[in-house]
Symmetry: D2
Subunit: 163 residues, 4 copies
């Protein structure tokens, strides 16, 4: 049985933050997703589109429309989106009209370049969820698979919760 | 909506291998699973049973019966098993008679204590799969969710494949 | 022969930067130096004074006077200082009047919490240099032992150089 | 002032151990030293000779003669040797006749490929020691600079000590 190909759309967020000494600051850099998938020894068919490099607080309605159009136009029915956590649920809602696709959003609370990060675990969750869950929009954070249309981030606690 | 609690059963395998200088050899050590879940900032309810510490080539029929009984007796219906990869599919078959539970086996091709390991990604896949997939036995390795009753390990390639 | 005890003075800098998701920003956090020394299996006698937590661009003349006084008053004659790189050479010059002590400044161009950081290597250099070099002020960065009174940072290149 | 070039001779040992899943065992693999030096952002001039890949318990008198000859014939007067820890002091003694060179042996008690290893710290110590110490043979392990002709490994404790 052929394995269903997965589309990975990167949009930025903490997961891709890098430190730039010359600037003494952190910025979103070239995505580490490809490297994480290599370390995870992923042989499952996938392709990555680096769509944007933004803090999720800076994402606009136009950005969300572009994310939705990219997914709608893609041949893949299994989709993973890496995304900043602050407005992840807002983007999830903006994808609720897409039908026939299993879409999973995931990000990280610590940059993937840290030695202790939730990035690989969350990305692994997203890969499994988009293969196992029925069509719809899902969020995989803090060890849980959340309904993307109803979950919310508890910013003070730094975790996602069921609403 | 309450999140379904997950039972994590550790059995050993490469994922938990540690290096012991005094012996100049590697052995399966105290499980790192709890630490991986902490780094992944998992707030989802779970409990861990360290059932055994074995290379999967050393697992006996009695060991597999113990794994099956542990799962059958547990109140949780969502189960993750960490396991060596060499006989993972054999254990999956030995759990095929359990009904009403979503059971996911995962391991690692490189020890979790390595800086570049597939352990966190695979464990994340297992956490998501046991929440998203229908009851049955699944294997999450190499980025794919495999049917545990039909997948096999291609030992030469070091990957799992659909049969 | 008794090993000479080493005093480690932490002042902040990139080496100790941590990411705080709730703030979406990086700040200097509790020092990781103790943890780095544990991972390095250091059994050499040492003690750590967490003196301040500052970006080195924010260090004042009063801060540098406090660093100098702390070292002058300490019984140890072998001293390691962790420090931000931007004004490391300025602090080195401010310690030039101390005699009879081997003082080594080191920092990192990437935070120690990153999986790929120069922190451990540089700290190791400092530990060795303060044991091997004659009394004076030294800087250990980019694989070199520099004279602290004459080295400078080439900010554009992100490296230290002999002047 | 020109920085003195450093010769790095790799001989194997735990520091370079890699895990091979297909064999379910650890072996000494392609040296990670070059990668460690890149992560450490070393701009100091150096060259690496991968001389052998052996557990130090397997090193013969002929191997030690080859190490000595390689160093004697090299133009560099600053030398770092990566080496298994079990017979590190024996090799140090076999280099005691070389004059006019500062030679430092270092290894690791945990493989460099582990996320928590003493490899980078020890390699950093060796780089600094070969620049700061007078000609002779030195060992940099456990945070200390040891005289290579008198130090010994306390195998039970897993540490090096002054004799």
């Amino acid at each position: 049985m052929a394995l269903p190909p997965i589309l990975v759309v990167t949009t930025g967020g903490t997961i891709d933050k890098q430190y730039f000494d010359a600037l003494s600051e952190y910025q979103i850099a070239e995505s580490v997703i490809g490297r994480l998938l290599k370390i995870a020894r992923v042989t499952h068919p996938f392709r990555v589109i680096e769509l944007m490099r933004k803090d999720s607080l800076e994402l606009t309605d136009a950005d969300r429309a572009l994310i939705a159009a990219t997914i709608a136009d893609a041949p893949e029915t299994h989709v993973v989106i890496t995304h900043g956590t602050d407005t992840m649920t807002q983007t999830a809602r903006a994808l609720g009209h897409l039908t026939g696709k299993t879409i999973v959003l995931a990000g990280a609370l610590a940059p993937a370049r840290f030695s202790e990060s939730d990035a690989s675990f969350n990305l692994g969750m997203a890969f499994a969820c988009c293969q196992s869950a029925p069509p719809g929009v899902w969020i995989t954070m803090n060890g849980s698979v959340f309904n993307g249309l109803t979950a919310r981030k508890d910013r003070a606690a730094g975790t996602f919760v069921e609403s």
